[in-house]
Amino acid sequence: MKKLAQFFLSYRLRALLRKEFAQMRRDRRLIMSLCVFPTMQLLLFTLVLNATVSNLKLGIIDDSRTPESRGLTSTLTESKSFKLAGYYYSTEKLGDAISRGDVDAGVIIPFTYAKDLQRGHPVTVQLLLNAMNANTAAIAQGYAEGVIGTYNATLEQGGLHAKFLQIPVSDISRRGVARLSGAYLYNPGLVASWFVVTGIFGLLLVMNGAMVASTSMVKEREAGTIEQLLMSPAGTYEIIVAKIAPLFLVLFVMVAFAITLIKIAFDVPFQGSIFTLLSGSALCVLAGIGIGTVIATFTHSAFQAQLTSFFVNPLFTTASGAITPAEAIPNWLQPLVKINPIRHFSVIARSSMIKGSGLETLWPNFLVLSIFAFIMVSASVWRFRKQLS
């Protein structure tokens, strides 16, 4: 412990820190790009990435043309899920409209619709869904079934259903039904942005951390001053710690900005403790910086570092579950998900902010994040001396 304190108070480290802070202070563009750019990205991404399925355009073929069939179409289009896009007179026309994208779903009401209902025969209505987008199709199916269920219930109340009750033999051995009543916890209004904004937050921390760290580490090399730094009595650890400290501070200002924005602009609830969130972001920033410093030790210029991050970034962003559910990622990619800092931070951010989880349940995520950050920083220290050869 004493050794550690000595290390942090050593004259050499303080001098190096002063140098790095002075350099950072002069780089106005960097500070601006770290505070303004991510804020905009956070706003824009969250506004744009929204999976809510609503107002699906519905095309209708009504062969029945009766009050009953109009009742069904109005029940379908009154809901927020579907909106009426037009009536069609032949299935070919409707098919063309679906293929052109004018219509997302089509309903075909058969000629005998009203007659069958009055007689007490069940009627089948065909519902065509453009299932190109699997998610939209799955949710639209749920909506349609829900709406038709409600319509059936109103028929029942209107007395029409009495006829149907007579069809099955009403015997005494008839069994009851299970009625599923769902409840949405933590986000009863199903606000889509809460999920996306917390994921994008982690994404930005790691991506920006990596970018800034790699450019600032590589700068010394581009300018050719790295030899002087290595010639000085300072050890590799001291150089790296001094390099990381100011970056860490600036990025932490960004964290504060982002959290304020998440709270004000998107109204995400704050159930958990701010301490959990802040310590999670600190580790996440460190992990990002770690990725950046490792990239920097393999490259010779800022341009090359940026090109390399082209290869690294997609790996981390896609296997993160930041904007799509992590469970949907295929099995062969799951090992990457397990070590991904973005993944663990988004779990921490979501659980602590929206659900109010604390350290007692989130410690595995913290553990993985710290191990990841530690390995990355150590690897860059180990590579740092080698890079000159």
């Binding site: 991404f45 929204n50 107002n55 293929s99 209902l117 069940p122 009627v123 089948t124 209505v125 065909q126 519902l127 065509l128 869904l129 453009n130 299932a131 190109m132 987008n133 699997a134 998610n135 199709a137 949710i139 749920g142 349609a144 079934e145 038709i148 028929l155 029409l160 149907f164 009750l165 008839r174 069994r175 009851g176 039904v177 299970a178 599923l180 009543s181 769902g182 916890l185 986000n187 199903l190 809460w194 999920f195 800022a302 940026q306 090109l307 290869f311 997609p314 790996l315 896609t318 799509t324 559910p325 469970e327 949907a328 990622i329 990619l333 979501r350 929206i354 659900k355 989880s357 349940t361």
Partner: protein, 368 residues
């Protein structure tokens, strides 16, 4: 014509010698397609749900089995005496099914028995899916085990067109294909042009007898060829790994691809010739090719969900039209009648980019 080809040959030689550029052009798009195409999916299978069976009767166990046997859910062990919320705060489960005591008795007596489904809605889209799937599983169980045989007057026969298996891969694959084409060829084009400006070799071009048109066309032709190679590679992947095929007439797609390659390469050349700095040029292409195409073209989420204040921007995003064309060619098969105007827009955007870069270059002189 001869000079254009000479210019193209020079660019290709340069490209083949640069290993990094080759990797960017051919390897990265393929890995990106496989990676993102299979990892991006909003529809979840195998969701962990916690079950609290307060009844513990044979009937309740059949209901749990119904959930267990569905593709969507995976039952995780959870003690009856714990609060179900703890399963959510510790991220153990995404939903909890709570079967009340007396469930089996109620069912046997012919009484409707409520079953509770608590859903962790911090991910709203998955929550919606879970509630839809759970309702379907319960309905199926009612039909089999409960008295669900009561005939509903109106039944919906739902048909899924174009993607009957509702596979996410088939939807996102073509999207990522477009993303790859909108990102890498213009990136290489802009780097090649910016490099000329950075290393001042552009002066040699100015003093040579080549005209601005020839120079630009030569450059663009190179990267159009690169895009074709990339396109072939990616299409092979789409046809094999993603199991797609042309749904209808492919000529519309082929023509659109030629124009789109021209469009994005002109965009890259425009950026590269306007900004003689590789790093800045790269950031600009990233912004134009990646950020805009990724966000404002309906690649992952529908454009209709974008707030109207930003949505109008998407009308100017060239990738948006091409995504429609590719999805149409591979899934819907609408062909020319449905898509012709989008091809026209892409060709128009391409010619605008080309004219702009030509205006930028035409004097063939260093800017004062």
């Amino acid at each position: 014509m001869r000079r254009i080809l000479a210019q193209t040959r020079k660019e290709l030689t340069q490209l083949v010698r640069d290993k990094m550029a080759l990797a960017l052009a051919l390897v990265l798009p393929c890995t990106q397609l496989i990676l993102m195409g299979s990892a991006i999916s909003l529809t979840v299978a195998d969701l962990p749900i916690a079950v609290q069976d307060l009844d513990d009767s044979p009937t309740s166990r059949t209901l749990i089995d119904a959930f267990r046997h569905s593709n969507t859910f995976r039952i995780v062990p959870f003690a009856v005496d714990r609060q179900p919320e703890t399963a959510f705060t510790s991220n153990l489960a995404r939903a909890a099914l709570i079967i009340p005591a007396r469930f089996g008795r109620d069912i046997a007596r012919g009484v409707t028995s409520p079953v509770q489904m608590l859903i962790d809605a911090s991910d709203s889209n998955t929550a919606r899916l879970v509630s839809g799937y759970a309702a379907e599983v319960t309905a199926a169980w009612n039909a089999d085990h409960g008295g669900g045989a009561r005939v509903a007057p109106v039944q919906a026969a739902i048909r899924f067109w174009y993607n009957p298996g509702r596979s996410s891969k088939r939807f996102y694959g073509p999207g990522i294909f477009v993303l790859g084409l909108s990102l890498f060829p213009p990136l290489l084009a802009s780097l090649a042009s910016a490099k000329e400006g950075e290393q001042k070799t552009i002066l040699q071009v100015y003093v040579s007898s080549i005209s601005a048109h020839e120079f630009l066309l030569g450059k663009i032709l190179t990267f159009v060829l690169v895009s074709f190679c990339e396109c072939l590679l990616l299409l092979t992947l789409l046809f094999t790994y993603f199991g797609l095929n042309f749904a209808g007439d492919p000529t519309c797609f082929i023509v659109a691809t030629i124009f789109y390659a021209f469009c994005v390469c002109s965009f890259g050349t425009l950026i590269g010739s306007a900004i003689p700095n590789q790093q800045v040029a790269m950031q600009m292409v990233m912004l134009g090719g990646f950020l805009l195409v990724f966000m404002l073209s309906g690649l992952i989420y529908p454009i209709q969900n974008v707030p109207i204040q930003i949505r109008w921007l998407s009308n100017f995003i060239w990738g948006r039209y091409y995504i429609d064309i590719v999805r149409d060619a591979l899934l819907e098969g609408g062909g020319w009648p449905a898509q012709w105007w989008k091809v026209v827009i892409i060709a128009f955007t391409g010619s605008v980019f080309y004219t702009m870069s030509w205006r930028n270059m035409r004097r063939m002189q260093l800017k004062a």
